[in-house]
Amino acid sequence: MAITTEELAGGITKVILEGRLDVENSPAVDLRMNAIAGSRNSVLVDLRDVSFLGSMGLRALVSPALAIQGRGGKIVLFGPNEMVARVLKLSGIETLIPVHHELQSALAAFQ
């Protein structure tokens, strides 16, 4: 599981996740995401290369999201594949964190 960050215009931090967000990988992602959430107010999470999302992976997304939103910041999920999108929908996470399938609309959400 790889996690990289990229600074975009407008003070947006793009977090790129690659691989499986499962029981094995999620604790490391959780740690890193919470560190990012502690210092950033606009976070775009790129899920295009996430092939699996389990409940531990959801935790790694929700905990930092609540921290960012609690400070008045914004976090947006972008580009989940069909199956990952279904997990986000079934779990109700998409009601807590906006999910966008196009980069343009994801970026526009920060305006």
Binding site: R20, D22, V23, E24, F52, G54, S55, M56, L58, R59, V62, S63, E82, M83, R86, V87, L90, S91, G92, I93, T95, L96
Partner: protein
């Protein structure tokens, strides 16, 4: 003992109650998917259910015991019907024994939390979808 076993009747995956053993599930599902033509979305859902079930057994059922046994059995009694049975010797847990009236209400209303809905509910959904 951990690992896989196959005979004519069923496939079995033997795991110990360690979170690291859960990494054996995806390649096992991939192998079953290629042999039994399990569609990708169904394979994904099976992974989701098994990861949830086995991690709950390991973390909550066995707790500190890292040498407990978890066996996942797979059979396909008829075409496009895939049955997975998870067996363990962990202590029993019935949520209805410990829920207060307050938490019953919360669960009944499905308030969003940090985890997925019950895997049993999800299993029911998968079964429905697989037969559409």
């Amino acid at each position: 003992m951990t690992g896989r076993e196959t005979d004519q009747a069923e496939d079995r995956l033997f795991l110990r109650s360690q979170l690291s053993d859960i990494a054996q599930i995806p390649p096992w599902i991939e192998s079953l998917a290629s042999r039994y033509a399990i569609p990708e979305n169904i394979g994904f859902a099976i992974n989701l259910c098994l990861e949830e079930a086995v991690s709950n057994i390991t973390r909550h059922g066995y707790g500190a015991d890292s040498d407990g046994s978890v066996i996942v059995r797979f059979t396909t009694p008829k075409q496009e019907l895939f049955v997975f049975i998870v067996e363990d010797d962990a202590q029993h847990f019935n949520p209805l024994d410990v829920l207060t009236p307050n938490t019953r209400g919360k669960l009944g209303g499905r308030r969003p939390g940090h985890s997925l809905p019950s895997p049993f509910r999800r299993q029911a959904r998968i079964r429905t979808d697989a037969h559409r």
